[in-house]
Symmetry: C2
Subunit: 185 residues, 2 copies
């Protein structure tokens, strides 16, 4: 596309890089938008740039995220001690929810706490090796805003539609809570 066929490889010239980035991101987002409008699917696109590979690797090894995540992915049944089993079995659904909220809260506080400690140790690199300031994350959500017969959805219905994404976005944002998000649309 354009005045000349170009090779698909990393652009080294800073100026060209910026311009191409801007143009192609716009193009990509338009494609996603069209796709959603035509098929009724919903799409989230997350763009990362400028993070520190080595630091990321080191941090992940230090904290052991990969292993833990893999483990929790693979679990078909969760190991539980007898005490834990008894505690949970004894709970009704509402009790469980309450307890879940408490644990969730504990978890958030701990994450915050540990992040603060980490910041104390090294104020630029976070858990995931992202460098504050130089790391950027773009989030963009696409979803059809049209009915099959043409006219746009009303505001209320649109907001309902966005619920699922909102949840995913919040999950992601929380995960990267100490990174500056450039775009959230």
């Amino acid at each position: 596309m354009g005045k000349r066929k170009i090779e698909i490889k990393k652009i080294s010239d800073k100026k060209t890089l910026k311009v191409t980035c801007s143009k192609r991101r716009k193009g990509l987002f338009r494609k996603a938008d069209d796709f959603c409008s035509k098929t009724g699917a919903h799409i989230a696109i997350i763009t990362f740039s400028g993070f520190n590979l080595e630091a990321s690797q080191e941090r992940r090894e230090e904290v052991g995220l990969s292993e833990k995540e893999n483990e929790s992915l693979e679990r078909e049944e969760v190991y539980m001690s007898d005490d834990e089993k008894e505690l949970l079995e004894g709970m009704g659904l509402n009790d469980l929810k309450q307890y879940a909220l408490w644990v969730e809260d504990q978890r958030n506080k701990l994450i915050w706490k540990i992040e603060n400690r980490k910041r104390g140790e090294s104020c630029t690199v976070d858990w995931l090796g992202m460098i504050k300031g130089s790391t950027s994350v773009d989030l963009k959500r696409f979803g059809t805003n049209m009915r099959e017969d043409g006219p746009r959805r009303d505001e209320e219905e649109r907001i309902m539609h966005e619920g699922l994404f909102e949840y995913v976005m919040m999950t992601i944002i929380r995960t990267f809570s100490n990174v500056v998000f450039r775009t959230i649309v």
Copy 2:
């Protein structure tokens, strides 16, 4: 693009929908791939289709996720009781990490537990209103595999590069652990 100009709106004809979906998804993914190769950014694309809007809305209201998420997003400082403060303040970084792992584990178990309970109550609709079987989630990761000067990265370096995405993906997969993922690449 194509033999005739077409309006960008939801396609009602099933056959045309499938064909267009297949073609445009391929196109979108190629664009993302090119974008990453040229700019050095990393992109994750998540596609959702076939979830139940109303059920999703009801579940979210029931569980109150939105509020909770918003709250945790907005927190600059976390409210903590004196007991909790004392407990956490007394811990070193390693203690905190251990405790975090335990809480994380508790959380995973609870999520699993509550999902099972929910399944018992209604075996088709999960927490987020996704309908098992009819809901599909596509995950695709894009990242440059080329250096600026052309040749491809070696395998080890490529795997390091993927670390960050791996973590995001795992977070998402865990969030939607009872939904069937169609594509994870």
